[in-house]
């Protein structure tokens, strides 16, 4: 689809001119950490990213945060600025569910390109596992579905994704085994990630025989809930040099969004989802002047196993309906065709939206991914998904700037 999406060439010129980079990253420990508040995690992650960049807190003049499922505030960015003790010249809270982290990077880039800030801290943290109440959890489900026409029927968040999964199995004759294979690969990768929450080996049989949550999805088809924080710092190549940042830089090569539906009720068919994912990806690809074959590493939002298959296919890595066999053949593993979520993803490392996806993509491009390092990794794609495969965002990061 979509030859020459309007705006992508202009976007390319902007990114070429400014050479936007991710220059520092930070991750706290992840897991069940009951003695830390949401803003504590945000502060720790911010400090780690600032230290990783080797800059001072006062060098940061922009702030992009997200939202908290525990601390409710409708001015999240400035609430955190107050807690952390900073006076940003640019501030914004991005709130598009799981599409947030990826779009935080884009938001920072747009702020920088329009002269609003030079060094933007993007941070997210939450004590979701320890801090969320059962009413908070219900409120979260309420956010995902229509309060009047869906919520009264007892839909859960896994149930929403199960609706997509069941239709996917029907349309393509895919199998539960294929879904399970996604979880198995994520677990293999998590075993190599120091702060991953779940590292024990997992088999397809274990996924399929684990507790059924919402058929066709079982416990291990569903992502984990965790406490923790992560942050990254967006600036320009020029400013990074001026500040003496020594990290290898991850260059922003392209970005895009795509929207399908908010409520499953208004979804016409799976193609609507594929088209939204594809538009998001194609905007990024056309801006970067790259295609799927140029991608060495993919970071795909994996709130549920089905999400990964829809993204693999929607982005064009494999034809529609073939994501399942790609997963089952182990082709998403480190060392294989397309390493996906080398850090273990939301299914096994931790759940902080796609924050860790962005951090890991950066670490890989820097060559700082330790035992998970993929050789010769030049281009990474990161894709976020919010709602029930509703709202999509994609960025492409590279070792070299656009030329």
């Amino acid at each position: 689809m979509a030859s020459n999406i309007p705006g992508t060439q202009e976007a390319r010129e902007v990114l070429k001119k400014h050479k936007i980079v991710i220059a520092g990253v930070g991750e706290t420990e992840q897991g069940k950490i009951p003695d830390r508040s949401s803003f504590h995690f945000l502060s720790q992650a911010s400090k780690l990213a600032i230290e990783d960049a080797g800059i001072k807190k006062t060098d940061v003049d922009g702030l992009v945060t997200a939202f908290s499922l525990v601390e409710h505030t409708f001015m999240h960015c400035t609430t955190f600025a107050d807690y952390f003790g900073m006076k940003p010249k640019f501030f914004s809270s991005v709130a598009v569910g799981g599409a947030t982290a990826v779009w935080m990077a884009a938001e920072a880039a747009m702020a920088i390109a329009s002269g609003q800030a030079e060094v933007v801290l993007c941070v997210r943290g939450d004590n979701t596992l320890s801090g969320i109440s059962s009413s908070g959890m219900l409120a979260l489900i309420r956010e995902m579905c229509h309060g009047e026409f869906e919520f009264p029927y007892g839909l859960t968040t896994p149930g929403g994704y199960a609706l997509a999964a069941q239709r996917y199995l029907h349309d393509f004759g895919a199998t539960r085994e294929q879904l399970a294979a996604v979880a198995v690969t994520m677990r293999k990768h998590a075993a190599l990630k120091e702060n991953a929450m779940n590292k024990d080996p997992l088999t397809i049989e274990e996924v399929m025989s684990s507790r059924v949550i919402a058929e066709p999805l079982t416990k291990y088809d569903c992502s984990i809930i965790s406490d923790g924080g992560a942050a990254f710092i967006v600036t320009t190549e020029e400013k990074a040099k001026e500040l003496g940042i020594e990290n290898d830089l991850a260059y922003l090569l392209g970005m895009g969004q795509g929207y399908s539906h908010q409520y499953m009720t208004t979804l016409e068919n799976l193609d609507q989802i594929y088209n939204a994912i594809n538009l998001s990806g194609q905007k990024a690809f056309q801006t970067a002047g790259l295609g799927v074959d140029d991608v060495d590493l993919a970071y795909l939002y994996d709130c549920f196993t089905i999400t990964v298959l829809l993204e693999l296919e929607g982005l064009g890595f494999v034809p529609k309906g073939e994501g399942g066999s790609f997963a089952l053949e182990g082709r998403m593993e480190i060392g294989k065709d397309l390493p996906v979520n080398t850090h273990g993803g939301l299914l096994s490392q931790a759940h902080l939206g796609a924050m860790h996806h962005v951090v890991e993509a950066t670490l890989q491009l820097r060559g700082d991914a330790g035992p998970r390092q993929v050789g010769d990794a030049n281009v990474a794609l990161v894709h976020g998904n919010g709602g029930i495969v509703s709202a999509h965002s994609t960025i492409l990061l590279g070792k070299e700037p656009l030329s």
Partner: protein
């Protein structure tokens, strides 16, 4: 039945523009909104047609109450304690004869018999004195 009804599950958070729909279900009838300008049904009900017409001239049309399961999820866990004892239950997207989809439960069925394409028809569940939820059962 003299049994006192207590219903602890979430009830619809009504909006002014959806009143005809819920009045319909209360009377055990399904009415769906349609733009007079384009003649197109839409669902969920809104005050303005979501089509390019942006029309507020909306008519409520009696629906057949028949449709097919477009997809479904067998819930083995409910969203809250209020659902204790209910699982497994089916949440489905029903493609109505009028062409729009509606989320609902498929009831009066062995959950393992539910399938994509299954023909279903509406039944009315008077969950409180004020609220009736349309649900679906296998078509006769």
């Amino acid at each position: 039945m003299s049994e006192e009804k207590t219903y602890n599950k979430p009830l619809p958070d009504f909006r002014p523009e959806t009143k005809p729909y819920w009045e319909g279900t209360k009377n055990h009838a399904m009415v769906l909104p349609r733009s007079k300008e384009t003649g197109k049904f839409f669902f969920y009900p809104r005050a303005m047609s979501p089509g390019d017409d942006m029309s507020e001239d909306i008519e409520w049309v009696k629906a057949s109450g028949k449709g097919k399961v477009w997809t479904y999820a067998i819930h083995h866990m409910g969203p809250s304690k209020a659902y204790k004892g209910d699982p497994p239950y089916v949440v489905a997207l029903i493609e109505l004869e009028e062409g729009v989809k509606m989320m609902s439960n498929v009831i009066d069925v062995d959950v393992n018999d539910v399938h994509v394409g299954m023909e279903v028809e509406v039944v009315y569940d008077d969950v409180t004195d004020e609220v009736t939820l349309p649900k679906f059962k296998p078509a006769q």
